[in-house]
Each structure stands twice: as C-alpha cells, then as structure tokens.
Amino acid sequence: MWYMNEEREQLAKMAHDFAESEIRPFVREMEEHDAFPTEIIRKAGELGLIALMFPEQIGGMGPKWVESGLMLEEFGKVSNCVANAFASIHAGCALILQTGNADLIQKVVIPAMMGTVVTASAQSEPTGGTRLDDFTCTASVENSEIVINGGKIFCTNAGHADYYTINCKTKEPYAAPFGNHTLVLVEKDTPGFKVGHIENKIGWHGSSTGQLYFNNCRVPMSNIIATFDMDEKMVAAGAFSVSILMGAAALGTAEGVFEKALAYAKERKHGDESIYDKYQAMRHRFAELKMEIELLRGLVYGVLADLDNGNYNVNIPAVAAKVKGAEICEHVASECIALCGGNGTIVENDFERYLRDAKMNCTAGMSVHHLTDMIADWLR
C-alpha cells in the first residue's frame, strides 16, 4: 500500500500481534459479562500505542495519524468495541489538549496516554439530545467553586472512567470570562455525582454506556477545561479527529469479518469443492465486498496521510470516513453472515458480534445522520 513503509509495517504487525494475543482472548469475557478492557488499555499504554494519538509536546509520539489508523484498523479486525475504546481515549482528551490547561494535561491527559486512567466525555441529554441550546445540565459559580446540576445520557465509559468531561450550560446570569457553555472535569466519586443505569446495548458489550446524575456536585475552578460561547459549528469543527479514527476502526472490522467469512467459504466443502470454488455467485459477492473495503481504505488513509502532512482541511472526507465506514462495515458484516449460511448465524461462531458492533458505529460518536447533515451544511 502506498502509505506503508518498513516502520509502519512493523507497527502494524505489532498491533496485529497485540490484538491477537491481548484482545481476542478477552472478547468472550466482554460479550458475556460486559467486562471493560481496563487491562488491555493499560498494556497498550505501556507499549506506547495510545501515545501514537498524542502530540510530542506532552510526551506523545506525534500525533502520528497513519500509525494511529493502522493500530485501530488492526484492533478493529478483532474487536470494533475495543478499537473504539481507544478512539474514545483520544476524544476524551482532545478538548483538554486544545485548551492547553497544563495542570489538567498533567493530571488527566498524560495518564490517559499511558493507559493508567480512563476518561469519558458527556454531551447528550435525555431531552434535546445533542442540541446545545436545549442542554439543561448547568454549571454555576458559587464561592469560587463550580456547581453542577442536571444529567447526561449515553456517556461512554460511564462507571469505568476516572475523569468525566461534562459539557454544561453556564447558568445565567454569568459574566466574562464565562461563555454560554462551560466544560468541566469531574472526578469519579465526587460528592453529588452519581453514575446511573448502564444501558444494555446491541453491541460494544465491552464499553459501558450510561447515565450521569449531578446534584449540587461541586468541583474546584481549576477543573474548568474551557468556557466560551459555543455553537454547533464548533462541535462540527472538532468532529474530524474522532470521525477519522472511527473510520479506521470500521475499516478493520469490515476486514476482520470479511477474512473470517472468506476463510470459511474456502474451507467449507460442497462435494469435492469448497463453496467458494464451486459457486461463482458467491465469489462475486466476496469480490463486491472486497471492493467496498478497498474504497474505504483509500478514503481512510488518504485523510490520515493528509493530517500527517499538516493538512487539517479534511472535515468532509474525515466525516465521510466515519459515515461510510459505519455503512460499509455493517453491510460487509451482514453479507458475511449470509455467505456463511447457518454457521454464520451461530453466536459462538462470532460473525454476528461484528454486525452488532458495526451497528454501534451508526450512532456512537455522533450519529451518521447528524454527520451527514453536517456535510450538507458544509456544502451550502
């Protein structure tokens, strides 16, 4: 591939070996007990894998975007859920990095990069979803403290995170330097903060998605990540990084289920021949899926290479990688189940997990419809 070199090949091989030896044995535990991959994150942190997604200024390796993509692609081949757990580490730290609060970088971002702490970020609310104007979770200043009241839903890593980034509406009246939104860091076990119900989702059983409750939850002013007048455009502007990382994970997941199904089709005999050799219709369906995967690969690594080259003007293709990644991954997983016949439908054979996890890509980290609408807006 055009984006590969010797070092990247080694890195991909290492990520592949890591996925096979550390992630794959954990998949069943995640599926059956909703176990959280704490240990996998810690080991990956120790090996410097998470640091690929972080800047050198804070001790990271880059960010090295193509390398990060290779890592998430390899992880995604084994588990879309775990791959996205890594993408979400980046997402959870992105705002703190952008605002450059040195204390919080030291306290949260660097340990997250080492894999020793887990971060979460909460946006959506029970009413109004992700519409900023409708947020009811508020932050107010009282006695030089921030007081949070309200709730959030669909918070990824709820219950497992050590630090939560909460996007609050600033309670009126407020004065400069406050803006209409205040992003606050809340540590787990802070009085007044409770994690509520953990959702039973269709897929991503190794990630916990849950509700957060704040009842006069007080945190120091130093926990303010940022406060400014926020609008939807700002949300959109930050969408590219998590979108492209999720696209890379989706690429891997599509490849993972494809290779598994292809191997099965070549193994499975009808008479003297494999079903792959015997049926042209089957071969063509595999070929069609392969073409979709290669299209996605081109898109994903094109964007990642652009970012490595310092071209950050990639909003549309990056968001497209997430949207098309979700679609292609789901389509490939669904087709692969069909191509494997009865064996494709059996839970233990582990095809359906890819489909269920793929389905999560349609909504998590901003729904594909929301993202499509963003692209439409950019086209105005």
Binding site: Y264, E267, R268, N343, I346, E348, N349, D350
Partner: protein, 322 residues
C-alpha cells in the same frame, strides 16, 4: 566408504535404549558386511554384556568418573575423543535429548558433518552414507551426504526404524582411553534433579492432544484420559460431548465455538469430523483418527486412519505404550 559404523548406545536406568537396537538393525540392513561398533559412555556400570550380545561386532567402553552423570561438555569431549582415536567411517547417534545435544558438539570437534534427525539411511552409489531428514517443519525431506570429511555422522529419530533381534557376534570388548577428561573442566555442574510429574496442560498449549467424540462410549472416556497422561498429552473433546453432559465444561472443547488447537500430534477417537470441530484442529501436525465408520469425514483431514472400535483401540494402545 561405509566399512566401519559406530553406534552410540544410550543407557537409561542401566539398560540400553531401544534407539540403539533400531540403529543397529538399520545399519546391518543397509551394509551387512560393515563392522559395527557399539560405543558406550559412562562410569563403572556399563551394560557390557547386553551390548556384547546385541549383534554388534565390537563394544567400546569409555569409562570415566566425569561420565557418571550426564554433563554435555564431558560427554561431547569423550564422544569426539574416542571417535578421533578409532576413526570410523560413520557414527550414528540417537536424536534424543542427550544425543541431540552432544552429537553436534562432537561433530564440531571432529570438523565433520552431521545430518540431524534422520528418518532414513541408505548407501549412496559411491558407497557413502545417504541420510534423509525432514526440513521446513516436515513439509520437505532433504537428502544429505558428507563427501569430504570423516566420520559421516547422523542423528536418528528414535522409533523410526524397526528393531529386529540380531544374532550375537561374539563381540570383542575394548576399553577406550578417555584419560584426556582428567584435566578437563566443563563449566557445567548439575545442581539439582527433579523427577517431574506432568500437570494438566491447557489443551491449546499442549504439544499432543488426545481428543474424544461421541463415538467414544462414556465408560471409555477415562481410558482416553489415561492414554493422554501416558503420552504427556492434554485431553480434548467435541461439542456434543459437552452437550451430552459427558464433559462438565468447555475448557478443552475443540472447534469453532471452543478452542482452536495446533498441537504436534492429534489423536482422535470416535470423532465424526463435523466442520465445527475440524476448523478447530485442522492445523495440527500429525493427525491419527480412530472411527468405526470407514467413511467418517474426519479421515479426510487425517494422516492415518484406523477403522476400529474406539474402546478396544484405547485398550490396545494403553497396553502398547510403555
């Protein structure tokens, strides 16, 4: 040339190892007129009488206090030193734990060639020793020879050659001089020996797996377990064995919904060969299958098939494996 052939006779618990007799039988078969010498390293108690009657033409004993317990350095030096003194055309050594360790070092000392883990020996048209040994994990067989140096050395896989009793030949016994060991210091010292008891191996880590399927009656499962123990193997089973309640958990269940295994050896009893199971074991090394149905699918992915009753085969194998 192959007029004088030496065979290193390994001694285990005071008795000559079977590998010696196998090599002797093969050497005699490929070159009946060769003078065959049994070489034995050790201390005072060497099985000289047994070797004299084994069918060799000569027995050479290398005795030294430093050869009493196994030390690779002293054994290597003794093997090389005695061979150098007598200069045979060929030397055969068992590819056992000891033989595999000392033969290469001896070959280095003698500046000669050594073919490893041979599975067949013969005589080349020019009269030299022909040696066949596996390469690339057994995918290919290499044909080797040692044209310019002497002796021609080969390590031979134990158990490959048949062991046929040979007529005693009134072998002379020669005591070799290994006094060169007197002043040698090996740098290797045995500090502890533990006789090991094999613990239960996880089925996907074991080098050998005995696997049972529904064709094995419930009362024969323990026999399979005993066979596994004898072979140092783990016991595996198929999905139906769990479903029928014969096995309590899935920890050693082999197949797409269980463990995928890649042992060197897989012996299956009463396994039909469902795709589910085969996907979990097809990359095993040697596959031997026992099934009473001559058309069982499992035979398609087996190296050896035995059409037989699993219970009876288990009985016989338990008897046959010492």
């Amino acid at each position: 040339m192959l007029n004088t052939i030496w065979i290193l006779a390994e001694v285990n618990d005071g008795a000559v190892a079977s590998s010696y007799y196998e090599m002797l039988t093969k050497a005699r078969a490929i070159k009946p007129e060769a003078k065959i010498t049994a070489l034995c390293l050790g201390g005072d108690n060497l099985p000289v009488d047994e070797l004299k009657g084994s069918g060799a033409d000569e027995v050479v004993c290398a005795r030294h206090a430093k050869l009493e317990s196994y030390d690779p350095m002293y054994c290597t030096a003794a093997l090389a030193g005695v061979i150098a003194a007598y200069d045979p055309d060929a030397v055969l050594v068992a590819a056992s734990a000891k033989g595999s360790e000392i033969a290469p070092g001896a070959a280095a000392r003698l500046r000669t060639g050594l073919a490893a883990h041979c599975t067949e020996l013969g005589v080349r048209p020019d009269g030299d020793l022909a040696m066949i040994a596996p390469a690339f994990g057994g995918k290919l067989m290499g044909e080797y020879y040692i044209p310019n140096t002497r002796p021609q050395m080969a390590s031979v896989k134990p158990g490959v050659f048949d062991r046929v009793p040979q007529e005693p030949r009134g072998a002379a016994v020669v005591e070799a001089d290994v006094s060169f060991l007197d002043g040698m210091s090996s740098g290797v010292e045995l500090v502890e020996r533990k006789v090991s008891e094999a613990a239960d191996l996880p089925v996907d880590k074991a080098e050998s797996v005995v696997c049972v399927g529904l064709g094995v009656a419930e009362e024969n499962i323990e026999k399979a377990r005993a066979l596994a123990k004898k072979l140092g193997a783990a016991l595996g089973y198929t999905r139906p064995m769990v479903d029928m309640g014969y096995m309590s958990d899935e920890s050693a269940m082999i197949g797409t919904s269980g463990k995928t295994i890649k042992p060197k050896l897989y012996i299956g009893f009463g396994i039909s060969g469902s795709n589910q199971h085969v996907c979990g074991m097809k990359d095993s090394g040697l596959v031997i299958s026992v099934n009473n149905n001559p058309k069982a699918e499992i035979f398609n992915v087996s190296d050896y098939k035995l059409v037989a009753d699993s219970g009876k085969m288990l009985d016989e194998l338990l008897k046959a494996i010492s």
